[in-house]
């Protein structure tokens, strides 16, 4: 089980990439591979934030709605104040959404699932009201295309953003007390409370993180579509969650696998890309996302079942071993 947890996703990725490569060799051309990486960036970035959320024992269903809201904000604000301030405003708006999520869950004690489901609807509602129900056009704002076709240091900006986000989240997770506390909360929340960890504050911070990553995803997505409306990003939350679970992070919390998330998200993009190249219609791509999600959850379920059987006998063995060990002392 440990091997699957650690390396399973890599094997899976190679297998699927290999399978596609057999059918369409040009899928592994450097150009196309770069394409895949760029295509995966929207989900990857959101999945990075989602990894933190799931590690802390929760998750955020509203990231797609925040993504949509960001697209609307960008479309309406950039013409007025320019790109930089527009992006800044979108970031602020998304952080407010994150705090809102955090407060509902910590102060009103609403369950995460219900809370983020509700805010998902609320944020989209806000987006619709803000745009009067109409699409916002960004065709006249070519500056925003830096987030999709721009290059910096030789790399496409979306890819760079993905790498930076993952690097930052990795650092946070492994090398800061905040990361330690997020894992503690996910592992045993009541124990974290009695250990004096400020659980409420940290949970709010986590939701702000997911909101910020949703904002970054929104920057890229909006730049690609050059449109903003309240209907965008409906798949984002589930795809991000699917990537996190496929990547080996346990839904139970306490253990996150950031690298796994990244690889899983690339895998999802690869499947989309491969199906595209095979000329499969978009409808089948939706189907494949759904199937992958079921597979991901089934794997998680299987892991828990097998894990429980393991731990049952492991406990018995541990009991005997500790007796032997203490007898031997």
């Amino acid at each position: 089980m440990k091997i699957w947890e650690r390396y399973g996703i890599f094997f899976l990725f190679l297998v699927i990439l290999g399978a596609f490569a057999l059918m369409i060799p040009r899928i592994v051309s450097p150009n196309n591979l770069l394409n895949i990486l760029v295509q995966s960036s929207i989900v990857s970035i959101a999945a990075a934030g989602m990894t933190l959320a799931i590690t802390s024992g929760g998750f955020d269903l509203s990231v797609g709605a925040i993504y949509a809201l960001v697209s609307c904000v960008l479309g309406k604000v950039i013409p007025v104040v320019g790109l930089t301030l527009g992006v800044f405003t979108a970031l602020m708006v998304s952080m407010i959404c994150g705090v809102f999520n955090g407060l509902i869950i910590t102060k009103l004690r609403v369950q995460t699932f219900v809370a983020t489901l509700a805010t998902m609807i609320i944020f989209r509602g806000v987006a619709f009201i803000y745009t009067g129900g109409r699409d916002v056009e960004l065709y006249g704002l070519p500056a925003i295309k830096v987030f999709t076709t721009g290059r910096f240091l030789g790399l496409p900006v979306p890819l760079l953003m993905t790498l930076i986000v993952f690097a930052l989240v990795y650092f946070l997770y492994h090398h800061t007390p905040l990361g330690l506390h997020i894992r503690a909360i996910g592992s045993n929340e009541p124990a974290a409370v009695t250990s004096g960890i400020r659980v409420d504050r940290i949970k709010i911070a986590v939701f702000v993180f997911t909101a910020i990553t949703a904002c970054f995803s929104g920057l890229i997505g909006t730049a690609q579509l050059l449109t903003g409306n309240g209907r965008l990003g409906t798949d984002l939350a589930l795809q991000a969650i699917a990537a996190v679970i496929l990547g080996g992070t346990s839904l139970a919390g306490g253990r996150g696998r950031l690298l796994g998330t990244l690889v899983a998200s690339i895998l999802l993009a690869t499947i989309g890309n491969g199906l595209n190249l095979l000329g499969v219609s978009a409808a089948y791509q939706d189907l494949s996302t759904g199937i992958i999600l079921i597979v991901a959850l089934a794997v998680e379920g299987l892991r828990q079942i097998l894990g429980r059987r393991e731990s049952f006998s492991a406990k018995a063995v541990a009991g005997i071993k500790s007796q032997e060990a203490s007898d031997a002392q």
Partner: protein
Amino acid sequence: MSYAIEIKGVYKSFPGVQALTDISLNVAKGEIHAVVGENGAGKSTLMKILGGLYPADAGTILLEGREIAFHSVREAIAAGVSVIYQEFNLMPDLSVAENILVSQPPVYRRGILSKRALVERTRSLLDQLGIALDPGILIEELSVSERQVVEIAKALSFESGIIIMDEPTAALSSKEVERLYAIIAALKAKGKTILYITHRLKEIFDLSDRVTVLRDGKLVATLTTAETDEDTIVRHMVGRDKASFYHYEPAPQREVLLELKGLTKDGYFEDVSFTVRSGEILGLAGLIGCGRDELAKAVYGLLAPDRGEILISGHRVRIRRPQDALRHGIAFLAEDRKEFGIFAEMNVKENLTLTIINRLKHLFGFIQTRAEHETFRRYVDLMQIRCAGAAQRVMDLSGGNQQKVMLGRALATDCRVLLLLEPTRGVDVGAKSEIYTLLHQLAKKGIAILLASSDLPEILSVCDRTVVLWQGRITGRLSKAGMDENAVMRCATGIHVEAAS
């Protein structure tokens, strides 16, 4: 003189229950003070108040002469009080070092975690306790005893002057208990004040300087340990004499209901054969890890044996899952209530009727409320379960009453064979004797009972015969006459091994 702890006139009540009434007691600095009492006596409540989990309703508490009123566990820890509960407050996915220092993680400047300092500080704390443990191991890989060490190291890391331990030896083997004694001695040498809740009288006399007895939320007596004895303490606890317990008449024994033939599970137990008759209570004794627990679980279908046979009333049966066992009339009462039995969030009535709910249905599948309630009433009366009503949540009951609910549920299945695994662990003396009386009543009704327990006095006083295991094999079969502590211990430690039959 300034005491470490002064408690004056503390009261605490919960809905429906006056948990503590006018508790006053002093504990000197550096003293090891034992607190004993039946479950429901209020010991845990008092400790939780000291630990900051909830505030007292009335009364004063002074620590080193300063009055305190904790509103949170953090405040209690900051004031120097650490509580080590029976269910550990540990994070299974984090390492030993991370668990110990999670609330005070060592950082470099700029808030970066210093992993090196984490390991070093942990090592130094463990050294102070005289324990060697790899700071990098994840908690979920540790045994109960090792996890307890981690908890104690945590208390040490807070430099708590007052350490409260709630039933620390409940799940430890005898060697591990010795190690705990050494740790407590080390703590005392550092001038720590220790409050020690326990049911085990032996530990009171091994460890404590003074002992306080609580009963029904009131403080009955505070005694100097050297000046008292077991009988006195027990009398204070229950208001009865110890000798008046555990009297019973053996039930008439009839046909063989349960028979094991050569039951084997590689690595756990080997070639186990014995019979249990209707009306008989057979003890299964042995030290932790002897295979006793696994054997009981195998008969119930929680573990699959590799070889051997199980016979019910002379018929060979295949038991692969608990449903199979239930179908053959075997019921099981597990040791770890929280993991194996209690549906903590549900109420008493639901817990009792859960397994047999199918029998209480109407034609169209709805539950017959009246039948459900009758079942509840019947078992509450039968087992004298003390609860505030059918709707009370089971998790609010004391340990002994929870166990009675579990027993009631097992009985409601109309079983013919009852398997018990440590049925009175964490249960107070009074409830214990009630449960024993119940078991004998059940035996009289014709049920065959297999009692697996590490509690020697329990085995000796309750069982008609005993089978002793050592390293997975039967090393002794003792009749009532031949059952004494010495004989059981010799078999349990492998000193005496019966001839292979």
